[in-house]
């Protein structure tokens, strides 16, 4: 996986314990590197399982699950978006099936996928398209590292601090933007 994604500027790559988390890889990507990374996965015959978001203190963690038809393994690609302006490019051009998953994520969390061919509400009625039911109150949000399994770190860019377990107490306060 790290070979597949080399040179993309991934922030964090870790091997995960399949028996415990059900996936083998977890990767944090900057927004700009998403499309190229997904293109490489597509070329390596991965298929898209689902797209969803987690509402955490540091922002929305948009997660793409990929799996393989021929080989075992599941990869989670994650992109962290700020709460005030959650937007990222759509991968529907690469994986056509992502169109619906992205529309669903928009319905639930209000995340904008730029370039989705038919970006209208899917599951939620258009009359109440702006209610975003799965967004959490600032109080209810927890930190990314409390939620996600750190795994066996293969690569971590120095400025990436989301998954660092023992942060100083001063930084631990929610930085609500």
């Amino acid at each position: 996986m790290d070979a597949l994604l080399s040179g993309l500027g991934a922030q964090y790559i870790a091997k995960c314990d399949y028996a415990k988390t059900g996936k083998t890889w977890q990767v944090f990507l900057p927004v700009g590197a998403l499309l190229r990374a997904v293109e490489r996965l597509r070329a390596a015959d991965w298929h898209l399982e689902d797209v969803f978001a987690l509402d955490c203190v540091e922002g929305y963690v948009v997660t793409y699950h990929f799996a393989h038809f021929d080989k075992p393994g599941r990869a989670a690609l994650r992109v962290v978006l700020p709460h005030d302006k959650p937007a990222l490019p759509s991968i529907a051009g690469i994986y056509s099936g992502a169109e619906w998953h992205e529309r669903e994520t928009r319905d639930f969390h209000g995340i904008v996928f730029e370039g989705n061919p038919n970006f209208v509400p899917l599951l939620i009625s258009p009359d109440m398209a702006d209610c975003f039911p799965l967004r959490k109150d600032a109080k209810a949000r927890v930190k990314v590292q409390a939620l996600l399994e750190a795994g066996e770190v293969v690569f971590r860019s120095p400025d990436f601090e989301l998954m660092t377990p023992d942060e100083p107490a001063a930084e631990a306060k929610p930085a609500t933007a």
Partner: protein
């Protein structure tokens, strides 16, 4: 008599207008559903037609949306199990299993071996009943009214068997974190053993009445061809992928429970059309029977639920987990993220039908209306699962 005064209302709702914006001049925009005999529930498909030909189709879903994922955030793990039976009512136990499996992974709970066998047996029975219902309903789509009654005749027997341990007939909430709710009774096992040869004896009749019928063959051959790459692009799994020649089955690809110990085949078909998907499902019925037979022979004695199984107010440890199960329609996936609180932090349900249905727009392009209906049926859709 009321006349429309509002032109917008006459022209259609949000989706119709959105769809008609890009429709060509002189074509017919038709709403199939949400109430339509062939959409099995409340699926709505907008089609742009030129005569009998479908130029473009767009499924509109969400009529049965219940926000299951939000419900998970206000219930504890044990309290959420009944919801799983209502996601896909035809293969409820696969969803039961996916959720329970995800929680068990998260908490590191070991399930007693007998419970694993009971799970496999009930889940495979549920798969057969799901396929039988699909078979009948699909033929109803194709205009044959009788097969569904024969399929229900067999399905009733399965439901009677499943009713013994689960107590329900459709929306099972039978699995528990750490095992299953009740053991199979001796009477139930006896009936299972009687049932297997009986259903085997029925399968040739299905073949005679339907599978070999020339009208049916002509109806489902060479329509809705799905290339393997399209499956990959849309994430289609289950019989849809296997009908396209992809040998992918979660039971083998990501082995869980006792499946590695069992001897069964993954039927695939290289035809890639509706016929391929039909053949795969019919073959899966036979394979499921094989699995159940082996399980009955291999099943050990013992508990069916782990000692000290989580109580309703049990708190799952913090962390995340993903559990994939092979359901009747494909890969059923449940993703859990827990912050260690009473309720789940986030639950994501990956419905196979959702990915399979998103294929439809691409596959139905340029087909006849009757073919579009036949393709829709061949994807085996369960709307509650898609809408969640």
């Amino acid at each position: 008599m009321t006349r429309y005064t509002d032109m917008d209302q006459m022209a259609g709702d949000f989706y119709t207008l959105n769809f008609a914006k890009t429709a060509r001049e002189g074509t017919l925009v038709l709403n199939l559903g949400p109430q339509h005999p062939s959409t099995h529930g409340v699926l709505r498909v907008l089609v742009e037609m030129d005569g009998e030909y479908v130029l473009r189709a767009e499924p509109v879903i969400g009529y049965l949306h219940r926000m299951q994922e939000k419900m998970a955030e206000v219930k504890t793990a044990a309290q959420y199990i009944p919801n799983m039976g209502r996601v896909d009512y035809l293969h409820a136990l696969a969803w039961n299993w996916a959720f329970v499996g995800a929680v068990e992974k998260l908490a590191g709970i070991e399930v007693p071996e007998r419970a694993e066998y009971v799970r496999v047996i009930t889940c495979e029975f549920n798969r057969i009943s799901s396929h039988l219902l699909w078979w009948g309903a699909y033929l109803l789509d194709l205009g044959a009214f009788t097969p569904i009654m024969y399929a229900f005749d067999d399905r009733e027997k399965i439901l009677d068997i499943l009713q013994d341990p689960t107590g329900s007939r459709l929306t099972y909430s039978y699995f528990r974190v750490g095992g299953v709710a009740r053991d199979l009774s001796d009477d139930c096992i006896r009936r299972i053993r009687e049932f297997i040869p009986w259903l085997r004896g029925r399968l040739p009749m299905y073949k005679d009445l339907v599978s070999d019928n020339i009208i049916l063959r002509k109806r489902i051959e060479d329509i809705g061809v799905i290339e393997p790459d399209l499956c990959r692009s849309y994430g289609a799994t289950g019989p849809v992928a296997r009908g396209s020649g992809i040998r992918y089955d979660v039971r083998r690809a990501e082995p869980y429970s006792v499946y590695p110990k069992l001897d069964f085949e993954i039927p695939i078909s290289g035809l890639k059309d509706a016929r391929g998907r039909y053949d795969v499902r019919m073959a899966e019925i036979e394979q499921s029977l094989r699995i159940i037979e082996q399980c009955l022979d291999m099943m050990p004695e013992g508990d069916v639920i782990v000692k000290g199984a989580p109580k309703p107010q049990w708190k799952a440890p913090a962390g995340e987990s993903y559990c994939a199960i092979e359901g009747g329609r494909g890969k059923v996936g449940v993703y859990l993220a827990s912050d260690g609180g009473k309720n789940m932090y986030r639950v994501k349900l990956r419905a196979p039908g959702y990915s399979n249905l998103s294929l439809f727009a691409e596959v139905s392009r340029g087909t006849l209306l009757a073919d579009a209906v036949a393709i829709l049926g061949s994807l085996d859709l369960v709307i509650p699962e898609i809408d969640r």
